[in-house]
Symmetry: C2
Subunit: 263 residues, 2 copies
DNA sequence: CAGCAAGGTATTGCCATCCGATACGGCTGC
DNA sequence: GCAGCCGTATCGGATGGCAATACCTTGCTG
């Protein structure tokens, strides 16, 4: 889903290293993506593009392994606990998350507002960590949650560091949803924001995702200079005037990013 | 790893529904469990009990699917971002987590201390959600992290609701590690704590996992009365006298659990 | 209450697909 | 400059996954 590698195998059945059963199995897990609740075998088969038999076998296997379980009422299946182990290992082993965590904690102590780390994934910014502030309006557990790149401070910060061609590609395919009445949905205006971000070194987004919220984002580049993630600090407009927020917070956020990159 | 189902297939190769390739593939992902960093093909093969060829094929497939990526230095592989999507779906679709989340948030507002939800998984209690308090000493992102059932307030609360036979089984196989100088490692003393918990309806653990921390746990049963999870509220001994903590917090925690179960 | 649809489960024979041994080129550190 | 890892590529053989089909239960519905 992120930038497809151009050298793609043309024929989908001619990769002798590709283990089809495994891909189908992962397709079963992914079929829960849009789901509203437990899924029946037929639903899984349809969503994952499998025959009923295939779905049966794969589900059976996942149940033996613990990754799926039957829903409590005996109708349909759900993801089960061992999934969380994978997440934990992912976060634990991700070098960026590893380096960032103590620094973000420190940052949160200083700013006393909510601090997030999100990872760039094309159209999405995926939350990897959240350091909470005192008052909280949302789930703490939105690890794995994601928001559109094009309407968040962190996303703008990433876009500002990306080559123009990639920015164009992302904007061209973006789905501009109106998350709040003030969400910017005009690509031209977003380009302005990106330009502004390039000048400032950080992005400021007001009420783009949630009314009453202001957020400041700074991108994190990898060693080659390509942006791979962002930190953002979010606060309430009831307590901050946006410019004042920017003045106070931006230097701290920038400093935190410097520490992360240096580590 | 959690309680094996007794009706096990005796011959491991005679289950016609079992998709071996898928199981091996998941084994590759699980091989990152104890890892310290990226894993090479040989390491994966060894850890997962595969031939090098098998590891190669499975890793290759996971890379195409996005779940694994090559480490930045080109040596070894790491879990990649799509893993988080699975977690997110798991948490989103888990009925218990769903019902519990708003109630835990409310609870946190009232007690102004850290509130956790953890899921019972045999020897472990696995964190599913954390509502932070103001000061924080640890990663916010320990979703998927786990602690031994036998040394946490939540674990004791679960054990207190479990049939005696299961308690015996868990204690018999438990690995009593000394996480702090005050961690209880004597099964007999733990049994006392469990008995106490049965009387009180909640468990109180002081400095079992972290020095200076007191935690109160209440188990959450499913519709059949079997405990499946626990909430715990953790606070600092610098601010609370344990008995006072219990008196103030226990009723609120119990009330929260009632709401979750009723929902 | 009969009947039907949809749920999960079980069986079977065919052949595609996965299997493991082996070989290759590049990089690192002796 | 050699030894030992790394990730990658190839290939013939048979294992193991494949889809179709049938089975049993449950719950809805006419």
């Amino acid at each position: 889903m992120p930038g497809e590698s151009p050298p793609e195998d043309p024929a989908p059945g001619t990769d002798p290293l590709f283990v089809q059963s495994l891909a189908r199995g992962m397709g079963v897990l992914e079929s829960f993506k849009g789901a509203e609740g437990a899924l029946s075998l037929n639903q899984i088969a349809t969503r994952a593009g499998l025959t009923r038999s295939a779905a049966q076998r794969l589900v059976h296997t996942f149940r033996k392994l613990g990754y799926l379980r039957m829903a409590e009422d005996g109708r349909g299946f759900r993801l089960d606990l061992p999934i969380l182990d994978l997440t934990h290992d992912y976060l634990r082993l991700n070098p960026l998350v590893r380096r960032a965590n103590p620094i973000l904690l420190e940052l949160r102590r200083n700013v006393r507002e909510r601090v997030d780390l999100s990872l760039f994934d094309g159209q999405r910014m995926v939350y990897a960590a959240r350091m909470q502030s005192k008052r909280e309006t949302f789930f703490a557990t939105l690890v794995g949650n994601s928001v559109p790149t094009v309407c968040t401070s962190g996303g703008w910060a990433v876009l500002a560091m990306l080559p123009q061609a990639e920015v164009d590609a992302i904007l061209a395919q973006a789905d501009f949803r109106q998350l709040t009445p003030r969400t910017i949905t005009d690509p031209a205006v977003i380009r302005d924001q990106i330009a502004l971000t390039r000048q400032n070194g950080h992005a400021l987004a007001t009420e783009q995702i949630l009314m009453g919220e202001v957020a400041l984002g700074v991108a994190i580049p990898d060693s080659s200079g390509r942006p791979v993630a962002a930190i953002h600090i979010a606060a309430s407009l009831a307590e901050w005037e946006p410019e004042e927020f920017r003045r106070r917070i931006a230097p701290l956020a920038a400093e935190a990013v410097r520490s992360i990159v240096a580590g």
